[in-house]
Symmetry: C2
DNA sequence: AAAGCGGTTCAAGCCGACTTGAAGTCAAAT
DNA sequence: ATTTGACTTCAAGTCGGCTTGAACCGCTTT
């Protein structure tokens, strides 16, 4: 059972040791134990770190991710439902935005954000209160 | 030609007036002008704000979004290419993560993050250095 | 014995994106 | 005449997520 010192654990996940200390302090990922006062990390902890990394790259706050990770049975599943819904929304928005940017890129106007009628029209709808989510969804019906 | 005071402009976009002042100060969105010392916003500025809103919700830093918006012709298109690529990556990651969470949700284990073999296996691959992008891409080939 | 390495704690600093508070201006409504 | 409301500036505060710096410890290598 390999138990890695902080530096090695951090290296594996592409993080700085200070980050792991910070996570420890915040109670997000506590080391498996201490050996001579030094933090040592095991598989479980590395997995927790990996999980947090994924969550974080998707814009989920560390706090929320940590809670999902610690929630038992039912609560865990509920937390996941929320995150899945959030991801579905994110994906829809991203696809809408992508189409939008692709259009902008292909538009012959010199300054599409000012001249392109499609782009301007879309922005104007936002200005008039239509949430981007909706515009994105229209253009990209799930 | 309607020129809205800061409060009205902010309301239209669901922002706080202080946010618009902040954007002005940072040079991201300057009001169309001043009337009696007060900021007034026109269509162009509202569109800029809408654009920044979209960008921001996708995790693009304000600075970057503002630069894309101001870049002329070729540079604009280059900036867009980058953002489109970034979005493609984001979408791929999000879809991978979604599958991952869906699996976790459907896993009968009490604590999937600890017990579910698929989940644990995935996390372990990350621990061993495989970037999540790659794992996500495998599971969700574009 | 001294230097280097990798850890330790604690406090402070930094960045982005704002928000909040204090003090003032101005026009319209009571 | 005064109060209300929306604005102005400027300085400072907040929050998340770290990083940095100072001082120290214990082991190994030179």
């Amino acid at each position: 059972m390999e138990r890695l010192p902080i530096g090695e654990a951090a290296r594996r996940l592409g993080l700085a040791p200070s980050t792991l200390r910070y996570y420890d302090e915040r109670g997000l990922v506590r080391p498996a134990g201490r050996v001579g006062g030094r933090r040592v990390y095991g598989r479980q902890e590395l997995r927790r770190l990996a999980f947090l990394q994924i969550a974080q790259r998707l814009g989920i706050p560390l706090q929320a991710a940590g809670e999902v990770l610690d929630a038992p049975g039912e609560r865990w599943r509920k937390g996941l439902e929320e995150q899945i819904a959030a991801l579905d929304e994110l994906i829809a928005r991203a696809r809408g935005a992508r189409d939008f940017l692709v259009h902008a890129r292909d538009c012959p106007a010199e300054h599409p954000a000012r001249e392109c009628p499609v782009m301007v029209g879309l922005l104007d709808r936002m200005v008039d209160g239509t949430p981007f989510e909706q515009i994105a969804a229209e253009h990209h019906p799930s």
